[in-house]
Amino acid sequence: MAQMDAVQKRLFQEVADLHNIPEGAYNLRANGESIGRNTTANIDIQSKTDVSGIDIRIKDGTRNESVHIPVVLSQSGLKEDVYNDFFVGQDCDVLIVAGCGIDNCGSQDSEHDGIHRFYIGKNSRVRYVEKHYGSGDGSGKRILNPVTEVYMEEGSVMEMEMVQIKGVDSTKRTTVAELAADAKLVVHERLMTHGQQEADSIYKVSLNGDGSSADVVSRSVARDNSYQKLDLCIVGSAACSGHTECDSIIMDNGRILAVPSLEANNIDAALVHEAAIGKIAGEQLIKLMTLGLTEAEAEEQIINGFLK
């Protein structure tokens, strides 16, 4: 990682917990270029030739391996669309860590739109971690519009952890998933917006095979004058079970629109949605204040716990 400067190193650390070169397969992208890549016997990474992005191919039966593909932008005014496709074979068990960090100290907007497509083979298990982070005090906006598409074959399992806690000015996150029989999708999204930020988070999960299931849980906090729209939809077209939950805290002048929706196209589809929005409960603050915290410290602790 010789070509990396301090800002880029910090960003990589924020989005991928990387202190150094990761183990296993990786592709590190900084300011629109690949600055480091490693493949393993089971995991191959190739640059796409038609558009910007990479193809990641994971062989059948690959277990206990990981792929890191973090992206950082530290140059103001950079706009990029990146297409990353993951082809996961059968009977795999892998960890995929993605994420994007933008540091914009300039006056021009920086934008990274990553389109991730996952094709998950039969009986494979994938854990996917995606973190988004923005920093820098320039007037240029930090914009991230990730699109995630997940195509799950029979008996596959996908656990997704999507985190966006700080510094992204505008985001439109779209996640689409299609599940075959006995496939299982678990999503944990954590979102915090502050300042004048806007975030849209859209999920559309289609349960197409018998025995498929999805659990989509979003926890979010909107502070200052920020706005969030959470649109969680599950479509059940087989004997399946689906659950969505939006649980949100509003602070200051924060605003949230939660639009959970369910569509059942099969008599054996069992679908549930829950949504709750509210400010921090007064009793919670009081309890922590009786333990010696100030009101502001109590708020911080409650939010930290909620988004953990």
Partner: protein, 240 residues
């Protein structure tokens, strides 16, 4: 030492008077039980001491300092602890997180476990549990008590600590109070309770009714007068 001087409290813009001109002193090293009928103002009095409610008249003096205008945080930092009657849940926060906040330091897991064992919870099962709806009322109540134990308080207030806990932990609770007293010199404990077994270990009993002190004195003086009334009931009156 805690001194209440002519404390009154009204709610709804003075329409409803809940505490009427109460004056009392809680000496150091004392175990005081406040009892009395429901709606008499016991919990409100405890909340006034912790600063959760603000008295509308009168003065509170704690260890020689006028705390009337001090807020909850300041009073907590001076050594006042409060265990709520109905503990609150925190989504995402774990038991060890809460104990660390209570202790005001980065408690080691084994230190945190000690407090949980004190309240009869198997520490390894609970330390990483979220304080959410998955905990029962009794479990929450014990964790609530553990948060007070984790703080080295000078004055501990317990609002109906026995409510919602079973017989076994009731014995445990009494042992906890006794240990708290022996452990720290100068510490006083105020418990709101109707239970005879807690009244039985009191140095002093205060009966609050209709916002006033109806009776006050040593256990031997007050207990015989109130036994069999709403102010002093057995654990399960149906068994009798």
């Amino acid at each position: 030492m805690l001194e209440l001087k002519n404390i009154s409290f009204s709610a709804d813009d003075g329409e409803v008077e809940i505490i009427r001109d109460i004056s009392m002193t809680v000496e150091d090293d004392k175990f005081v039980v406040i009892t009395g009928p429901n709606g008499g103002g016991k919990s409100t009095l405890a909340k006034l001491i912790a600063g959760i409610e603000k008295n509308t008249a009168g003065q509170l003096i704690f260890d020689g300092v006028d705390i009337t205008d001090k807020n909850i945080t300041e009073r907590a930092r001076m050594g006042i602890g409060f265990a709520f009657q109905q503990p609150v849940r925190f989504k995402g926060m774990t038991v060890v997180d809460l104990l660390r906040i209570a202790a005001g330091k980065n408690l080691s897991v084994s230190e945190a476990c000690e407090y949980l064992s004190e309240v009869g919870l198997c520490a390894k099962d609970y330390i990483d549990r979220e304080i959410n709806a998955s905990l029962s009322g009794g479990e929450l109540k014990r964790i609530e008590i553990a948060t007070v134990l984790a703080r080295n308080v000078k004055l501990a207030l317990f609002d109906e600590p026995e409510a919602g806990i079973d017989l076994w932990s009731f014995n445990n609770l009494i042992r906890i109070f006794e240990k708290m007293r022996s452990e720290c010199c100068g510490r006083s404990i105020i418990v709101i309770s109707h239970q005879e077994r807690i009244l039985n270990i009191a140095d002093e009993i205060i009966v609050i009714a209709d916002g006033r002190i109806a009776k006050r004195g040593s256990r031997d003086e007050v207990l015989p007068e109130i036994t069999g009334t709403e102010s002093a009931i057995n654990i399960c009156s149906r068994i009798k």
